[in-house]
């Protein structure tokens, strides 16, 4: 059971646009909301209203600052959940067969009735995608909302993962990344979608679209320029005298 399939019929996954994500955490909340009351054990919280609250989440949004060699620093919001890797180390390390990758769509799931809660799959995941639920003692992870995407009781528009349905910025896309003609595959090809930690050899299915380069407006003529007072590099007049006078005071010039 914990041997990985040689290939999967489809490679369902997410494409996350780092250029568009505004870091609102709506996907985090909708994920927790949907998954705590549907597939498998609920996502428990420990001490939720106390001084040190924590809980199980399947999706978390980080924020990073990137400082290029030249120009301004850029803030990038970074949602992270299970990448449903093709070569998923979390599956093969499982001693009980509870962790598995589905042949039909490539989704990595946990059979919670067989999970002994040893935590080794979380140790083997470079992305921190798996969290042991402290109340239930079993491993929790993103199911790609397997209980939504094939659910004929839901309107068709809702048959996508909860995080994708919720994202107000359109930064999350869902589809078959094994089909080169799918919308998500085209998006990845067009925008240069990338893998996280490719050196780990996990072959993630989920892709991240890098932020687009910033516009530069240097050398452009500013029509307001003549109306703005020029900033003097060297102070003149009274300000110049004051500057020199203050410099002469003990400890003044620096």
């Amino acid at each position: 059971m914990t041997e990985l399939p040689n290939s999967t019929d489809r490679k369902m996954g997410l494409v996350i646009d780092l250029d568009t994500c505004v870091g609102c955490h709506a996907c985090v909340i909708s994920c927790k909301g949907w998954n705590t009351e549907n597939y498998g054990a609920p996502l428990s919280d420990q001490n939720p209203y106390g001084s040190d609250p924590s809980g199980t989440f399947l999706n978390r949004v980080h924020s990073y600052e990137v400082q290029p060699e030249q120009g301004h620093a850029q803030l990038i919001h970074f949602p992270k959940s299970c990448l449903h890797c093709e070569d998923a180390p979390c599956v093969t390390v499982c001693p009980t067969g509870a962790s598995y990758k589905r042949v039909e769509d490539g989704i990595v799931l946990v059979n919670e009735d067989h999970c002994i809660g040893c935590g080794l799959c979380a140790w083997s995941c470079p992305y921190g995608a798996r969290e042991l639920d402290l109340a239930e003692g079993v491993m929790k992870k993103c199911t790609l909302c397997v209980d939504r995407i094939y659910n004929e009781n839901l309107p068709e528009v809702d048959r996508i993962p909860s995080c994708v349905r919720t994202c107000p910025a359109g930064a999350r896309h869902f589809g078959d990344l094994g089909d080169p003609d799918s919308d998500v595959s085209k998006l990845v090809a067009e925008r240069g979608g990338m893998d996280l930690m490719p050196e780990m050899g996990t072959k993630p299915v989920n892709k991240y679209l890098p932020p687009r380069p910033k516009d530069t407006i240097e050398e452009e003529i500013d029509i307001l320029a003549p109306l703005l007072a020029p900033v003097a590099e060297e102070p003149q007049g009274f300000m110049g005298w004051l500057d020199k006078a203050l410099d002469k005071l003990p400890g003044g010039a620096n």
Partner: protein, 295 residues
């Protein structure tokens, strides 16, 4: 990594226990009757005590039997199979030695091989993890095996072998620390590759996903005690290898004093290995810490 007491106790005690079983299986010492009973009780106590301790950290220990099923792909499962096999085979061998006064050599060799295989498979659980560069090295199984053999020889009273095995284990320990300290950097994984943003400039973790802690931080980011790592390494090396070596090489006369020295050597070695194992976990950096700007 969080140094969970259950896992430290498990790897320390069962490593020693299976080391002793290895020597007993090879007929060293070739004991029978009551003396054999004491040796086997000690070996099984250590090995089983360790295995029991390892189930304490499970979320569902009652399902632990399922861990024997996935030996084709999982090192943890292979460890379980080897451990159960070694205990059964060595149990039969012990019955022969203790009650029937006979040594079934073939059974002993199989038991010895399975005992060593248990230690090796334990070490591979850690070695296989690319996510923890400090463990993902050839030296990790070498360290586990050399510790187990040295401790086993010490307990078995193998006077000619023990000093050599202790010296080798000590050398392996030093090499492991020297190489391990460079492992994370050598792995090439950093916040740049973790986020895929490294090509654009220097990446800094600006804001964590939550203001509080979480399972990942508790399990994988352990920094308390790392500042004492250097002192603890000294303690581990002296107690684990230098002092036991000194104790068994000191020429003493008399049955009682000799056994007292040997017992002190074993206790010192045990304390040293436990310290080393604590460092093994506490100093191991999981790459997921990078996402949080931590190690």
């Amino acid at each position: 990594m969080h140094p969970a007491p259950s896992v430290i106790i498990f790897t320390t005690l069962s490593g020693l226990g299976f080391g002793l079983l290895f020597f007993l299986g090879l007929g060293q010492p070739a004991v029978t009757g009551m003396v054999a009973f004491v040796f086997y009780a000690l070996a099984f106590g250590l090995a089983c005590g360790g295995l029991l301790a390892s189930t304490f950290h499970l979320g569902h220990p009652e399902r632990a039997w399922r861990a024997l099923t996935q030996w084709k792909s999982s090192w943890l499962s292979r460890e379980g199979v080897c451990a159960v096999g070694a205990l059964i085979v060595m149990g039969l061998y012990a019955i022969g030695a203790v009650f029937i006064d006979s040594q079934w050599a073939l059974l002993g060799w199989i038991g010895a091989a399975l005992s060593l295989a248990t230690v090796f498979t334990t070490s591979m659980i850690y070695t296989q993890l690319k996510t923890i560069p400090r463990w993902n090295m050839e030296l990790t199984p070498v360290m586990f095996l050399s510790f187990s053999l040295a401790g086993g020889a010490l307990l078995a009273g193998a006077e000619s072998l023990a000093p050599w095995l202790l010296a080798i284990a000590g050398a392996v320990q030093l090499a492991y620390w020297a190489k391990g300290d460079k492992a994370l950097e050598a792995s090439g994984t950093n916040l740049g590759t973790a986020t895929g943003l490294g090509g654009r400039g220097s990446v800094r973790a600006f804001e964590p996903p939550h203001t509080g802690s979480n399972y990942l931080l508790r399990e994988f980011v352990h920094v308390v005690g790392r500042k004492h790592a250097h002192k603890l390494r000294m303690i581990a090396f002296v107690l684990g290898f230098a002092l036991p070596l000194l104790l068994i090489l000191t020429p003493v006369q008399g049955f009682v004093i000799k056994h007292v020295f040997a017992a002190l050597a074993v206790l010192s070695h045990l304390a040293g290995v436990a310290t080393s194992r604590w460092l093994f976990f506490a100093q191991a950096e999981h790459v997921v810490g990078l996402y949080y700007g931590k190690r």
